[in-house]
Symmetry: D2
Subunit: 144 residues, 4 copies
């Protein structure tokens, strides 16, 4: 059985736009923040160091479907699951809720990369100790 | 034959993050800005008024795939096409290029809505005069 | 004796820039967020309604002095005091701390305004009930 | 005689907030963007490299006074002058105008620093060649 990680964010005034609602790009910022909350909950970080240097997670894909607007000062619950834990990448799936109503659902795929100053990020296998900590958030397929 | 609308944006320092590259959410802001540039190019705006009041375009879906990073001070070309011009919604498709290299491709779907203070946005048919101006940006399907 | 209101914010990845630290404009967003936390702590909001309509608080001045950088994932304490509670305006003063070290100090002055759709904000006296709730945060002058 | 550097920015939808106007923190982002435009106009950048490594300009102070609101799609003219060209720091002064009306005036002070990965920025004298290029933007005092 998978476990959804749940965190929350309040819609700040600087997240809103002239339509009077949270700007759609703010959902993507919050999706990333929720992912980082998940990582911290198991003592990981999106920026880590091992003996060989810095490891981080450039995003290769992000998407979000918006069902209902969020407004200033509302507190949104954000559920995060791992839809796919690959060899070198992770796909996180997100649900935004307000009082049980789903406002938006999204996904972010990030690739485990070695980061070196002045060089392009280079993909690398997810360290085993890290993958192990994340397994608890992996969505079980419906039939298993 | 469809025509891509082309605009550009410079990567500002406030668009970057601690990974030294443009933050992924900034691509979504620029996709929206490019859409608004397209609208202005035919004397439209994402916020318009008709006899019955205000019309605007809440986003219902957005996605982006990232192939390569963008860095501070780079000027990005952004191509915008209309992938689908519906009765009540438009799907814009975007390509980010730097010196001919594709950095990212994305899509935003927005719905034509009547906006009233204190009420939820209500979808409405795209006004005919507006649809007509936008037809030039509609992608022709490859076989037609 | 005045009471500082204390709140906190974590530096999110989207708050950082290519210098590897929190972007200076993010301090201003957090100063405003801390002000709004203060207002909520006494059941007020920066956007309120009375019998005559909407009341809000456009900013007329903001400043911040930066002593030390803040980095990704750090949790910052933000102290907010009211440096001046005027007839029609409030000056909030802010201190950012990390483990007791002051990182930055700032001020925001906001004016109580009647907000009407399509009209410019118009300054108005701060409602007495609101001023009363805020008095506890007013800095006493050192000698009084 | 000093020369103001003049640039412009359009108020994007993502710059606005639920009050229907440009969010006050967006003025600070634009002040920085205008400074970077000024630097590029004389072939400089806020991030440069010399034989000893990377040079950049952390901000130590920023302020802005707001006289009038800016709205979506408006094009703002931004004048930048150098109020003070010090040995190790520069104070830029900014004016935002729309059709000749002053909307806001601000100042940013930035310090010339050696930047090394993993170390705190360390202030250093402004390179002579850089100072020379910037002299044209220095405000002459009224009486000289």
């Amino acid at each position: 059985m998978s476990t959804a990680f749940v965190t929350s964010r309040r819609v700040e005034f600087s997240d809103t736009d002239a339509a009077g609602i949270m700007h759609f790009a703010a959902f993507f910022r919050m999706m990333e923040q929720a992912e980082h909350d998940l990582l911290r909950s198991v003592n990981l970080s999106v920026v880590m160091h091992d003996a060989a240097g810095k490891i981080s997670w450039p995003r290769v894909a992000a998407k979000c479907d918006f069902q209902a607007a969020a407004r200033f000062e509302e507190v949104l619950q954000i559920e995060v699951r791992i839809a796919r834990l690959g060899k070198r990448s992770i796909t996180y799936s997100h649900r935004f809720l307000r009082d049980g109503q789903v406002l938006a659902t999204g996904e972010i795929t990030a690739v485990c990369c070695r980061i070196r100053e002045g060089a392009l990020p280079k993909s690398m296998p997810i360290p085993a100790a890290m993958a192990k900590k994340l397994r608890t958030f992996v969505e079980s397929s419906p039939r298993q």
